[in-house]
């Protein structure tokens, strides 16, 4: 054989070995081979089982909260400077689209206080709000667009971080949490959780606002909201709110209490939270510890309220009402939970509260059993496809068919190796892409072989026919594979998850095909011919 031939053979063998190694390593046994394969090829959620979620951060919550904070600050400023005013209120944007229309209206500002008010806004609010006067004593504040965008962006970033903490607390392998879509417009988060068996519980966990607070109980319990209001003649005490309790068991009614609005401690004051079993009654509880400064505050609060009831509020529901027995500084607990409830609550308290509520836009869950079935079905269709095609090629093209078959197998090995080395994920449509590649890969060989047959029919000798066949067909092969690769490219750009997997296997498969059908097939023909003085016939 010529040097060129040896070189080509060397290249082919090197590529084959490298790819085989990437896919199955160096297995000592059949089991090891399967294990290596499972480790090297990453499976998508639709094959492994798991949940894919898209959440939307309701940034209008964060915007409203910020407006509330600003109102409190302005009111404090005005009172400190003795400026009289009628009211400072805000509008109520309820959806994401309305978030940008947040507006604070300050009415009835006394004439001599206007200058102080202007200063409070322009200096005290660090220029984030723009002031416009709609009449001699009424002003409208709107947020500067840049500040608004920054606030919304921060709500999303913080949500991602908090949700990430909650997911990490679950101990899953390889979860994915990332921003989704256009950051400034979509406010969406993508979460992928492989292998969870109880998606409902996790979805509940991620969605919890987890706003914890401990507040003093002023009045209650009442059987219903209306009863509470009527028993107090329609007037609630200043700085208070009316909240329902969470029934401890199914069928129990919810009770209403009037609580002091300003909380003694909030979730931000927690240093840690753990779930543990109460040895006395066998029930589970979530215990939390307070930061030093909060501990002092809480100590004073409890000292001043001995024998008074206090309520623990989670997400605007009272989950516990207890009477203060003595000064408490360092820790507290929420009792009467099941084990999973306690673990989840502790997890959520540790991870922190969400700055804005989240809404699910999309959920796709594939159970492990469906994933296993999909793998089985996909692989079996691939195997049958390969068998049919191999048989057809051998029957139709006789010995030359072997070239095509060898090239096809190498094509598959290269495809799997690229998936393994680059860490691409194999999805169910990805397996379909492999089957499609098998069907289309032989096209290149067919093109070449038909050309060779034509040249032979036209009277050329074997070597001449081979050269002409390969030569003329190569450009056509490049053209034809290219258009499908373009299609795969656009699918890769626009697609997500499973479709991306399909685009990858199809695109990579076709590119590998360019190599195997031209380079490798030619090599095998050349090797078959080399060393023979004169070749009369070609088995094709």
């Amino acid at each position: 054989m010529t040097t060129r031939l040896w070189r080509n053979l060397g290249i082919t063998i090197a590529v084959t070995l490298i790819c085989l190694y990437g896919v199955i390593g160096v297995p000592g046994s059949w089991d090891e081979l399967k294990a290596n394969l499972a480790e090297n090829i990453k499976l998508g959620l639709d094959l492994k089982g798991g949940t894919h979620l898209i959440l939307q951060v309701q940034v209008q919550d964060a915007v409203r909260a910020e407006a509330d904070r600003v109102i409190a600050q302005l009111e404090a400023d005005m009172q400190a400077q003795g400026v009289a005013y009628q009211s400072i209120t805000r509008n109520d944007p309820e959806s994401i689209e309305e978030a940008d229309s947040i507006q604070i209206t300050a009415a009835g500002i006394s004439t001599d206080g206007i200058a102080a008010f202007r200063e409070a806004v322009e200096v005290g609010l660090a220029g984030e709000w723009l002031l416009k006067s709609s009449s001699s004593d009424t002003f409208e504040l709107t947020m500067r667009p840049a500040s608004l965008a920054a606030l919304k962006g921060q709500a999303v970033t913080q949500s991602i971080s908090t949700i990430g903490n909650r997911i990490n607390g679950l101990g899953l392998t390889e979860p994915v949490i990332q921003q989704h879509g256009r950051a400034d417009a979509e406010h969406e988060i993508l979460v992928q959780l492989p292998g969870i068996s109880d998606p409902a519980r996790v979805m509940q966990l991620l969605k919890m606002s987890a706003q914890l607070s401990i507040q003093k109980v002023l009045d209650g319990p009442f059987q219903s909201r209306q009863l509470a209001i009527s028993q107090r003649s329609g007037v609630l005490p200043p700085n208070s709110e009316l909240l329902p309790s969470k029934p401890t068991a199914a069928g129990e009614p919810e009770l209403w209490f009037i609580l002091e609005r300003t909380p003694a401690i909030t979730g931000r004051d927690l240093r840690n939270a753990t779930a543990r079993r109460n040895l006395e009654d066998g029930q589970w509880e979530a215990g939390f510890s307070l930061s030093r400064e909060a501990g002092q505050r809480f100590g004073n609060f409890t000292q001043n309220n001995i024998q008074n009831p206090i309520a623990t509020v989670l997400d605007n529901r009272i989950i516990n009402v207890a009477t203060v027995q003595n000064r408490i500084e360092a820790e507290g607990r929420i009792t009467g939970l099941q084990q999973t409830e306690a673990t989840d609550l502790a997890l959520v308290l540790r991870a922190g509260a969400l700055p804005a509520s989240v809404v699910y836009l999309e959920e796709r869950t594939v159970g492990a059993s469906l994933g296993a079935d999909s793998i089985r079905q996909g692989v079996s269709s691939a195997i049958y496809g390969v068998i049919f095609i191999v048989v057809t090629m051998l029957v139709y093209y006789k010995r030359s068919g072997i070239n095509a078959v060898l090239a096809l197998f190498l094509n598959l090995v290269i495809l799997l190796a690229v998936l393994s080395y680059f860490g691409f994920v194999l999805t169910l449509p990805g397996i379909a892409g492999i089957v499609l590649t098998i069907g289309m890969a032989v096209d290149a060989n067919v093109l070449i072989f038909e050309r060779i047959r034509e040249e032979l029919r036209a009277g050329k000798g074997v070597v001449g026919a081979l050269n002409a066949g390969f030569g003329k067909a190569v450009l056509t092969i490049v053209d034809t594979n290219f258009t499908t690769i373009i299609a795969a490219g656009f699918l890769f750009l626009f697609g997500e998850g499973p479709i991306k997997g399909f685009a990858i296997t199809l695109g990579v498969g076709l590119m590998a095909n360019l190599f195997t059908s031209v380079f490798v097939s030619r090599l095998i023909f050349d090797m078959g011919l080399s060393g023979k003085k004169k070749v009369e016939e070609l088995s094709i």
């Binding site: 089982g49 939307q56 969870i196 068996s197 109880d198 519980r201 979805m203 084990q339 999973t340 699910y360 836009l361 999309e362 959920e363 796709r364 869950t365 594939v366 159970g367 059993s369 469906l370 296993a372 079935d373 999909s374 079905q377 996909g378 269709s381 691939a382 049958y384 496809g385 049919f388 057809t392 090629m393 139709y396 006789k398 169910l428 449509p429 379909a432 089957v435 499609l436 098998i438 069907g439 289309m440 096209d443 067919v446 038909e450 047959r453 450009l475 056509t476 053209d479 034809t480 258009t483 499908t484 373009i486 299609a487 795969a488 656009f490 699918l491 750009l493 697609g495 479709i499 399909f502």
Partner: protein, 389 residues
């Protein structure tokens, strides 16, 4: 072995017949689309709740449908597949708020039709944590010598066994489970759990916003891909070839969408992917023929375009038929063996390969000929093509 030696079929001469056939197919598809009010959109585009459920016994489909409708749910699809023991339930959805409730309502409805046992955990629908929590609460297990970690591992093994057997367990024998089941656990299992009549194996819930987003993405991807291919062909051949190829591809997509409507199949996201693929694939075939035309024109300058086209098609016929045949075998394997999740996708591929091959052989060249006649362009008929290899 050869199917074709040299053939001399007059494709161009008979082109009116083939164009008539195409017109018939397109009209039939269009009629179906109009009568059914447009293409049937899958959950990816219209939003909704889709649930895959497997039953121990083939389900009473009409009873389930009546129960769902009785709850006020909009049932878009209720379809058994595989061996009849699996069901695909698709509900329409109005807003994001209704998102999680659709799934819950389906399960509740099924629990009404197939009675569940009060107070016990449904083993066939339980997760590992729920199962091990329940087992640990059982008094026998609590008093046994098993640690909570061992109970958890046992629960995991039981659930894995169930999932390897298509997600449903019919009895408590667990035959084939390596290591068997510890007797304490087995008895706890029997007293704390029951074997539900059905198992929810997969869920897809798509809110209307995501549905709209995906519609936009699908449209963009399709237009971009078509544009990209047009540019590529114009670069490799000339515009007139590009137009003929794109027209043939349009023809393929129209017929495929029409066939989907005729067969009442849904257009899902994977179907769009299949359509894009078949667009690329159909272009392949057409390019092979046009390549041959270009080559033949260099050899025989004086032949008319019709003769050139006929010759080229005949010369490439063997290759076209064989390749399409092999690709068809591959996608048929996918359609028959690949499972329900891929069914729409593989159906699109099967139809696409058939229609694409048909259009490359019988439709693309007549379009080229007609376009040349209309524009009087000499480029295709007479002079050397620019960019020829």
């Amino acid at each position: 072995m050869q199917f074709f030696g040299e053939t001399h079929i007059d494709f161009i001469g008979r082109r009116k017949a083939f164009l008539a056939l195409s017109a018939l197919l397109i009209v039939a598809g269009a009629a179906s689309l109009i009568m059914k009010g447009g293409p049937k959109l899958g959950i990816d585009f219209k939003g909704g709740t889709l649930v895959y459920v497997k039953f121990q016994q083939p389900p009473d489909v009409e009873k389930i449908r009546a129960a769902l409708v009785g709850r006020g749910l909009n049932v878009a699809t209720l379809q058994p597949f595989d061996d009849g023991s699996e069901l695909k339930i698709d509900l329409d959805l109005e807003s994001e708020v209704a998102m999680t409730s659709g799934k819950v309502q389906i399960v509740e409805t099924l629990n009404e039709v197939y009675e569940s046992e009060e107070g016990k955990l449904d083993f066939n629908n339980a997760g590992v944590e729920a199962l091990s929590d329940r087992l640990l609460r059982n008094s026998a297990v609590a008093q046994s010598s098993l640690s909570s970690e061992e109970v958890r591992q046992a629960a995991q093994a039981l659930i894995d066994y169930r999932d390897q057997n298509s997600g449903l367990v019919g009895d408590f024998s667990f035959s084939g489970l390596p290591g068997g089941v510890a007797p304490d656990i087995l008895s706890a299992l029997q007293s704390e759990t029951y074997l539900g009549a059905f198992a929810v194996r997969g869920v897809e819930v798509v809110g209307p916003k995501v549905g709209r987003d995906l519609q936009g993405q699908a449209l963009n991807a399709t237009l971009a891909a078509l544009g990209g291919m047009l540019v590529y062909i114009a670069f490799r051949f000339e515009w007139i070839y590009g137009f003929a190829a794109v027209a043939a591809v349009f023809h393929d997509v129209l017929i495929t969408v029409g066939i989907f409507s005729l067969f009442d199949r849904e257009i899902e996201l994977t179907v769009i992917a299949a359509l894009l693929t078949l667009v690329g694939y159909s272009m392949n075939d057409t390019i092979v023929i046009f390549d041959r035309v270009r080559e033949n024109r260099k050899l025989t300058r004086r032949a008319s375009l019709s003769e050139l086209l006929n010759t080229s098609i005949n010369q490439t016929l063997a290759r076209t038929v064989l390749t399409s045949g092999l690709t068809l075998i591959a996608v048929l394997c996918l359609f028959i063996l690949g499972g329900e999740v891929l069914r729409g996708f593989s159906f699109a591929l099967v139809v696409g390969v058939l229609v694409g091959t048909y259009s490359s052989i019988f439709v693309a060249s007549p379009i080229l000929l007609w376009w040349q006649g209309v524009t009087g362009s000499k480029a295709a008929g007479g002079r050397r093509a620019k960019g020829a290899a």
